[in-house]
Amino acid sequence: MTISDLRRLFVAFVRYLALVLVATVLLLPIYWLVVASFRPAADIFATSSSVSLATLVPERLTLDHWREAWSGELPRAVANSLFVALTTAGLGVLINSLAGFAFAVFEFPLKRVIFAFVLATFMMPFESIVIPLYMLVRGLALTDTYAALILPEVASGLVIFLFRQFFAAVPKELYEAARIDGASWLQIWWRLTLPLSGPTIATASLMLFVHQWDAFFWPLVAAPSQERIVVQVAIARNVTLEVANWGALFASASTAILLALIPFLLLQRFYLRTITAASER
């Protein structure tokens, strides 16, 4: 083994050590949360004032909190959130890819200005538009409906931007050839570009899904009834100023994390690829 081999090995070792450390720091709180959801109520904070083995390894285990969480409003909330998040992702991919397609392929007056507006929408804090948005939804008589939860989140400046970046990279000749063959623009979008943009679709749906999965403030404002409860609201209901049901809180939060992980793990390689590609263009 030469010196340069040794050096390479050492560098790799240091790099992995650093990665393991960072991963531990990031994952430890989540590990603690999941484990806490299996501890009896009295044990949850009994070992938390200093970090020791007992903080990480529970002495006693119970399923009470999980039973409690799942016998309450959590199942309804999970079903609502899944419905809202999946519908938003489906509709969002169609609408945003159409917009992205228009920005990438067509020339029209004020195109750059309009695109700048689209970009501005995802940099604007939601709180600044929530009152007019609420008035609009109320004006359309949509309060307390699934539509109130879904429609405002379908169009996303960031997702339009991702699609635009992807479609702009498709050679113009391809579109021209299809036009000459008599395809309409809608056919080109549907038959030619969408099938090419698998990774972008995966990323876009993931972003829209996670955004809706995490939605908390808007659902409270726009659709606060029990029938429309979403998962983050169900989690928050375990805590008031005066009483916290930590066990049920941790059990429902663990549920939310684990469920949101599934699509992310399935699609993460597309996600990373698209984000890198979009930023390089």
Binding site: A42, F45, A46, S49, P224, T240
Partner: protein, 421 residues
């Protein structure tokens, strides 16, 4: 084609209108009141609402319970849209002035008999001489202590007698003996380590005033010598004497630690009595009054949840019936049974006297009548509270007390300026 279909539509409309006289024979559509309520457990909300439903069967209630963490933001949006929705909303008493000044509360003065309520409740409900929110509950923190830990440390229990209440100086001496880093055991904690609600009385005990009488100036008040002295004392709990666990800003956490025997003395709201008894049945604890400074007077915080009526409601008659029902003796007794906040109706204290014979309730009754000071009435209370809260948080972690308070006072002044118009 168009003409035909219009004709058809007209015919349809005529046929429909012919049917109209038949409608009164069917059930009258109910008036619906939309209510935004705190996210208390359902078992503490439904019985109250059902009681109203029974009393007013012709009124439909649509109740939305919002979790505490988002209730103020949600109300900001819903009220900010200036629509008739909601008709009724739960209102944190110190926000009464803020909502009233912005036209979100109906003046309830003509509909409430102020003489039925405790003095502190009416004060907390008033803004510029009018009653804008209907008092629904009050609050009063007391000093909980772990009997076993005090006995082991050879410390006499703090007296429950309000005349002999502990001073903060006595409390610190006891807390030092009760703190044991090896066992992760802390002498003392506030339930709310950063909230002005629980901490303003420290400065008020030394003669401090929380805000100018007109409600628009914090400079010269929260950065005055009593405030600097009181919050320097508070800081030492964490930095010099190290008797309080730092960073437990979620009010539920100190209570958990008390329940686990890791905190010996805890200043906390009365509602914790039931929580501790239910969740930690093994803890033997006693209750004493909120301390004062040796050279100062006794001051306690108060105020809690009130009920407000949206002045834009389309159903004022029904909304006022709701208020009347919720202010009734019977309903307030039911509420006390569901959630034991200190009552706001004098009649509940008098007619239910038996319930209040415990040490804790004797203390609470005295405090509400003699030492309770509501949080300052200002239309900018949200800003005042947010800024002061951040300052208090910084002070617990060692920030320069005088500078932090003075900076906070200036920021609050700037924020309050906008309400002067």
């Amino acid at each position: 084609m168009t003409r035909l279909s219009r004709r058809a539509a007209l015919a349809g409309a005529a046929a429909a209108s012919a049917l109209l006289p038949a409608r009164p024979l069917m059930a009258q559509p109910k008036t619906t009141l939309k209510v935004i309520w705190m996210g208390w457990p359902e078992g503490q909300v439904k019985p109250l609402m059902d009681s109203f439903r029974r009393a007013q069967p012709e009124v439909e209630l649509q109740v939305e319970t919002i979790p505490f963490v988002q209730i103020f933001q949600t109300l900001e949006v819903r009220l900010g849209a200036r629509t008739p929705d909601p008709d009724i909303f739960i209102c944190d008493s110190p926000l009464t002035a803020s909502y009233a000044a912005r036209g979100h509360l109906m003046d309830l003065t003509p509909y409430l008999d102020a003489g039925r309520f405790t003095k502190s409740a009416i004060e907390a409900a008033s803004w510029q001489g009018k009653i804008y929110s209907a008092p629904f509950g009050s609050s009063c923190p007391v000093l909980f202590y772990n009997k076993k830990l005090l006995r082991e440390a050879g410390i006499a229990f703090p007296p429950a007698d309000v005349a002999k209440r502990w001073t903060w100086e006595e409390l610190v001496e006891a807390a030092k003996k009760l703190t044991d880093p090896a066992k992760n055991q802390w002498g003392f904690s506030f339930e709310q380590q950063e909230r002005p609600y629980m901490l303003l009385p420290l400065a008020q005990s030394l003669g401090g005033v929380a805000l100018s009488p007109d409600g628009f100036k914090a400079s010269g008040y929260i950065d005055s010598p009593p405030f600097i002295e009181a919050y320097s004392f508070m800081q030492k709990l964490y930095t010099e004497w190290k008797v309080s666990p730092p960073g437990l800003f979620d009010p539920n956490l100190p209570v958990e630690q008390f329940g686990n025997g890791k905190i010996a003395l805890l200043v906390a709201g009365t509602f914790n009595e039931a929580t501790i008894k239910n969740k930690y049945p093994d803890i033997e604890f006693g209750v004493a009054p909120y301390p004062r400074f040796a050279k100062g007077k006794a001051v306690t915080p108060t105020g809690a949840w009130h009920i407000g009526v949206n002045p834009r409601t389309r159903h004022p008659k029904e909304a006022l019936a709701f208020i009347e029902h919720f202010m009734s003796h019977e309903l307030q007794v039911l509420w006390f049974e569901l959630r034991p906040y200190p009552p706001v109706l004098k009649s509940v204290w008098e007619k239910e006297a038996k319930r209040f014979e415990t040490d804790m309730w004797k203390i609470v009754r005295f405090e509400l009548e003699h030492t309770a000071v509501p949080r300052p009435a200002t239309p900018g209370f949200r800003e005042y509270e947010d800024i002061l809260r951040t300052a208090l948080r910084d002070i617990t972690t060692g920030a320069d007390v005088a500078k932090t308070l003075s900076a906070a006072a200036q920021r609050i002044d700037r924020e309050l300026e906008k309400y002067k118009a």
